[in-house]
Structure formats: C-alpha cells, structure tokens
Point group: C2
Chain length 317, copies 2
C-alpha cells in the first residue's frame, strides 16, 4: 500500500501555475481567498500563487492542522506572516532567484528615463514640439540602494555596470554593506535613492519626512520594494516642496492604487503598477521553481530560500 | 615684433562657447551663417559651434584663402564636407571623446524604456489606470550596432554591461567588427538594431525597405547617428505594417522635425529632438576641448581627431 499523495493547496490567481509535472505525485487543490481557511487543515503544502492577496494572514490563525510548508511566488513575505505562522514549525520559502534581474533592469530603466528626461520627451512628442534639452549623465553619479538582499544586490550590480558609484544599506553592517547608522549620511549625498528592502516592522515607512528632507534637491527616489516602506504623504509633501527632484513608485501602500489617489497626478512622480519583476516567461519560471522545490521536499531533502520568519526575509550572504 | 594672433572665426550658436582662455592668444571673430562666406578669407581657424547649420558647405566653395584648420563641436562631419573642402589641405577635426558616453547612455535609456514598456505606463498613469503587464528582459537579448566608430563602440560596451549580446558592424571587417556583408544576417536575428554610423555616400538611407523587411517582427530600431541614414518613409511603412515592433529616432532627415511631419504620431515611434549627446556641462567640455586643440595647433604639434575627409569620419582603431 502506497501512502497517499501529499495535498498541495494552491491559493490561485489568473492564469494558474502550470503544475502538470506534479501529476501523479501530488494532489493539487485550487482555492480562492474566500475558501482558503477551510482548505488549510487538509493541506500538506500551501502554494501562494496569488501574491497580491492577504488571505494567508487572515486564514492562518484559528483551529486545525496547518501545512508544513508554505511557498510564495514572490520575493517578499509580508503578505503571509502573522504571529501564528511565525511561531509555528511551518517552513516558508520564497521565489528568490527569479525576480532579481528583472527588477534590477526595471530600476535601470527608471533611472535612465529620469536622467534622460524621457517623460517630458514623450509629452513634447504629443505636442509635436521640438524641444532639445540638456540631460543628466548617469556614469559617475551616486546611488544609495536600501535593502541588501538579492534584489538590492542585483540593482547595485546593474547600476555599477552603468558606471555609477553605489552604496548598499542593510540591517546589519558587513563587508560591502552599510548599516542603518550610515543611512542618513548616504541619503544626503545620493543622486539616486533606490528602495528595495523587505517590509518588516523595522522598515515600515522608513522613507518618511525626515528621510526625504535629508536627500538632495537633485535626488531621484525609486521604490521597487514594498509600498509601505514609504510614507506616501511625506513623499507627496517632499515632491510638492521640491525637496527632491522626482520619484518613481512601482509599489504602493494600497494596490491597485485607487483611481482617486492623488499620487496619480503628483508632479514629478512616475507611477507604475507593481510590474518591475514581471517579465515574459516569469510565471513558467515560478511554477518550475515550485516543482523543483516540491521534489526536494517530497524526497525529504532540505529546501533552499527558507525565510527567517522572525526577521521577515531569507537571510543572505 | 611679435606676429599677429591667429584669427579664429566662430560659426556661432546660442549660448556661445566660453573661449576666455584664448584671450591674448587668438583673435576671436564671431559670425552667423549669413556672414560666414565673407569671414572665411581672413580666418586661420574655423570653429563650427553651430553644428546644426549647413553654412560651411554653402560658404566654403568660392574664392579667396581658406582657414588651415576647421574644428567642429560634433562627432559627425556631414554638415561640413563639400568637394572643395575635401580636396583642400585644410585639416578637419571633431569633438571625438565627448559625446560617446552620453549617447551610449541615451541608447540604453531608449532600449530599457522600450523593453519595460514605459511609454504605455506613462499613458496609463494619465488615465489613472492600473494595468500591470509582462515586460521584456534585456539581459540575454541580442543587439546589432551599426557603426564601429567611438559612438558605436561605446553603445556596444554599455549594452554588454546590461547583459546583452552584441554584434558591431562597420565599413571594413576586422577583429570584433563585422563587415557590410554580414549586415542582413545580423539584422534578421537582432532584438535591437542601433544605428550609430557616420553619414556618408555609402550609408545614406542604408536603413531602407529591404533592411526593415529582414528585421524580426519583435525588433526595435534606434537611430542616434544621422537622420539621413534612414529612409523615413520606409520606416513609417515598416511600423504601420508591423514589420518591426517599434523604433526611436533621435535624428531626422530634416531638423527640427517639421510640426506637420507624420513621424510625430506614427504608432510605435518615439521621437526625441536630437538630444542623445547633450548632457549638462557638455558645452563647457566642448569649449575646453577646442582650447586644448588650439594650443597644440598654435604650437605646431599634431592634432588628434583628424577626419579622413575622403571617408567622412575620423579613422578608428
């Protein structure tokens, strides 16, 4: 008699993951957010495919057995972690390794678009207006990258490849990484400030009035981490008072950004819809990564990309 | 008795070059295009500061002595060279070394903006519309850079730094440079085609119906060389038939691009006003470079950046 196949509950999204390779090796149960709570007790594994949902935080507390392993198709885990999950034995893994290069390229696109004034060029084109301007060089400028995880490090590598000088800031100072004590000094010198930190209690709204105040009037701020890293009111204030030259947000405290948000029309702010990591073929990569981790898990081998649930991210090098 | 100072005629533009360091060592005579012809016989040196003007080609033929040295504050010399200047003993030098890095960054900005679909993101922002899309990765894609001079080589270096594979095409095949015979084959495989060639008889309208036809439907075309490298009607046709995915032109057959040009509203075309090389501080760099060359010339030392007038560009490595 063979043991039953493990049950993998998938918190689904459209399009669903291609998990065909698991046929005959796992029982796949798809669920939406509304039915997650009733599926959890029967789950051996939970795959969080809908990474925009807060359903896990809401469904996890409460009675009954819980899956031994939760995998999220994202880099961050702030949408998952509730005290009960943190205190449990459940292993949480992430899609580390998939999003780093796309996000780094997206940051480079935003930095270069700002330096070369592309938004105003597109506006002038709509007006059939020939208005050459002098633009900013990128090589030789100085970027402060906040968040020393794989995304922050990939961003740093890409900006360095463009000839920029970079400083990387993390929670703990170490070789090549500044600690939080250096942050204000680095922000005050940066031409570019890139937010790529995980969202934790320590980083919640770390970009506040004080932080925008210490930046240079010529500085450009980019957030590709999590929306709640930024006090959006403080950013709006800073932009309207020209404390900084401009900003690009790919992530927001509330997503989708509501149609009536003043951020849509804030002068100097580029709004993009949380798409920095989303390149063509990405979903297949994410599904293939989960299948690979499933095979390790089913064979009793140790999993990579395991989150330190107390810190709120996968500890790095 | 000291000899009189050499006369430097400046074909002027606004703002004029800062040549204060030449005070007491040269007689500076500013002129506009209309009066250039009458200034030429008295000129020892001609500084072409207004590089958008065709005045030299028009004023040079005709009687009287001509300056022994012409320096242009540009990379290209197509706005200068007339048969009489080519046949003369006059030395022509360029601003080689100044524009390469800015143009390479501008190309990277256009490539990344296209890959990451920034124009549509800006349009969606104007409509307060949250529309995440999958975008294209840049690393691992393939760029064909046409023009193996310093600009083309700088573009190639920058795209390689972003993880792209590159092929460089020049007039003569040599190590690291493909010859014209390889061009169609390379174009047929390229994700990105970057035009950065000098404008000569050989390159005039080299990007024609045939060339756009061999490109892939997913290809994106960028011209930062000279407008007349491209048959603009053929490009319009190729874009409207979706032979290629999109294009960005920074240079045009007629500049400024006339307000009634259909190019302004061609779907898939990004129009920018010949600004790829124009970074903040550039004019001071150009003036300082001329002063440095003047010192060499006045001392009888050989000049760098000398144009091969028959070929139409500064021969490279």
């Amino acid at each position: 008699m063979t043991p039953p196949h493990p049950t993998v509950v998938v918190l689904d999204a459209d399009p669903p993951p291609r998990l065909g390779r698991l046929t005959g090796r796992a029982r796949i149960v798809r669920t939406d957010a509304a039915h997650l709570a009733e599926r959890l007790p029967g789950a051996d594994v939970l795959l969080v495919w809908d990474v925009a949902s807060q359903a896990v935080r809401e469904a996890w507390p409460g009675g009954g057995p819980r899956p031994r392993w939760v995998h999220t198709a994202s880099t961050g885990v702030d949408h998952l972690l509730c005290p009960e999950l943190v205190a449990s034995d459940t292993v949480v893994t992430t899609a580390r390794g998939i999003f780093e290069q796309p996000v780094a390229e997206y940051v480079a696109a935003l930095v270069l678009a700002a330096a070369k004034d592309l938004p105003r060029t597109l506006a002038a084109q709509r007006e059939r207006s020939w208005r050459p301007r002098e633009t900013r060089p990128v090589a030789g400028t100085y970027a402060c990258v906040v968040g020393s995880g794989p995304v922050g490090r990939a961003v740093t590598r890409t900006l360095k490849a463009l000839g920029m000088t970079t400083a990387l800031v993390g929670r703990v100072p170490r070789t090549g990484v500044h600690g939080p004590d250096d942050l204000d000094r680095l922000l005050s010198r940066a031409d570019w400030v890139i937010s790529a930190a995980p969202l934790t209690e320590r980083t919640y709204r770390m970009f506040d009035t004080h932080r925008f105040n210490v930046m240079q009037p010529s500085a450009f701020f980019v957030n590709v981490g999590r929306g709640a890293l930024v006090d959006e009111d403080a950013l709006a204030h800073a932009l309207s008072r020209r404390w900084i030259a401009g900003a690009a947000l790919d992530v927001f405290a509330a997503e989708p950004l509501p149609p009536d948000s003043p951020l849509w029309e804030l002068p100097g702010l580029l709004v993009s819809p949380h798409m920095s990591g989303g390149t063509v073929g990405l979903r297949d990569e994410l599904a293939a990564q989960f299948v690979e981790l499933y095979d390790r898990w089913a064979a009793g081998r140790p999993l990579p990309n395991v989150v330190d649930k107390t810190r709120g991210y996968v500890p790095g090098h």
